[in-house]
Symmetry: C2
């Protein structure tokens, strides 16, 4: 099932994108614990999709593909590298990424598989991780690469408003073990990998993170980006596509 | 004015702790934009104070006192070091800090002045920072020091559940420029400093952080810890006291 959030008129609501992606069926309330339909259905072209979830926190994993760790100048670490992005960094499909030109001269895309948590949980064993997962979406872990190197800590470089595009929707029926992931910049292929190349797979990451912090419904875990990261410029269009989910596209505008 | 959150019976509400700290006056709804009283007042001894705010995000600053930067083995950085703690790490006064003994063998206290944001804001100039500040409280930026060194990124080491005690309340009428801050462990003085020693003062931090990310009402900025950090053990009682605010006390228990 493809769960989206959409804006129509004054309101924002959850909806289910039906087969063929032409229609969205309005969901009453939130979709955790079971989807209930209001009965209203709209042509997808007549609504605006927004970020499919507003997470209370975004836990991101660094250097989780060996080829990306190497392109950053190091070997992959033995354990996952955990950092946080603020909830204020989230934008949806089609919403602009704002380039903070006064503060950074190098802003990169990082296409990633995002895991959306479905229930409050802590200390989840890897073999039970799927019980707490609501679904999967595409993410772009946008990064001011120059600030990342300068700061040491990554939260500022990865924490700007609009630096966490999510979408276009959450696919709830998907095996994340071996999905093709691609990132294109202005239509040119820049990243191409499979999630089977993740050094720490989705169940391992859920176990690792939930051993530290309680996860809440809607929280998002970004699983890391493969090789091929690179800079974006104002006016560029970046797309992250994942097999079985769909494609998240955003354009870069100037923030200032 | 001292704004607290308290639990009584089934409910949690905001309240104003009155002069003499004997009585708490129930506040209707939330206190942003003006306090409205319900008229109900309770003896403070008959309620349980909880964390005075549930922030959407906690932005923390590293190495913001020169003597602490040096005790950690380096010189203070030219710019503030920004990292994030998850909202799930917040606990209130008197609530336990849970020592994750399976994952860490070295958990430290870090007493800090916390700034609570009062209104949605972005790109706040330092000279207007006080307009967006709701008030100040005490914080303990609890840190698994061994994981902090090992990970490089600090979010896991500082992100465990219960690793962000806040309280006992928010003082809304206070000049943060030169306040005495002390941390005691089992009654023994371990940290003693004045906020005038902050390398980047409160207005500068609000300007720095809000140039990156939108701040929301209730968000918390931790301003950094002075020298004297050190380990805690299960059974220890740690108190962070700040002149003009009060004292935040928590006991350490085993998580496992």
């Amino acid at each position: 099932m493809r769960i989206a959030r959409f804006s129509k008129g004054d309101g924002v609501a959850f909806g289910v994108v039906e087969e063929g992606e032409q229609v969205i069926a309005h969901v009453a309330g939130h979709p955790f614990g079971g989807v209930e339909f209001t009965g209203e259905r709209y042509p997808l072209a007549e609504v605006r999709l927004v970020a499919p979830m507003l997470p209370s926190k975004i836990i991101a994993i660094g250097k989780n593909y060996a080829d990306h760790a190497r392109e950053m100048g190091g070997e992959p670490p033995a354990e996952p590298v955990v950092f946080l992005k603020p909830s204020t960094s989230v934008v949806g499909p089609g919403e602009p990424v704002a380039y903070p030109e006064k503060l950074s001269q190098r802003v990169d895309y990082e296409g990633e598989l995002a895991v959306v948590i479905g229930r409050l949980c802590r200390d989840v064993p890897a073999e039970r991780a799927h019980d707490v997962i609501f679904g999967y979406t595409c993410a772009n872990d946008v990064t001011a690469r120059d600030l990342q190197s300068r700061d040491g800590q990554w939260s500022r470089a990865k924490g700007f408003d609009t630096f966490c595009p999510l979408g276009p929707w959450i696919e709830t029926s998907l095996d994340p073990a071996d999905l093709a992931l691609t990132t294109t910049l202005n239509g040119e292929l820049r990243q191409s990998a499979r999630t089977s190349q993740l050094l720490h797979d989705v169940p391992a990451l859920i176990a690792y993170v939930s051993a530290v912090m309680t996860l809440l419904p809607g929280d998002v875990v970004l699983t890391g980006t493969p090789a091929g990261v690179g800079p974006m410029s104002v006016g560029d269009e970046v797309s992250v596509g994942i097999e079985g989910i769909g494609t998240l596209t955003n354009r870069v505008i100037s923030r200032d």
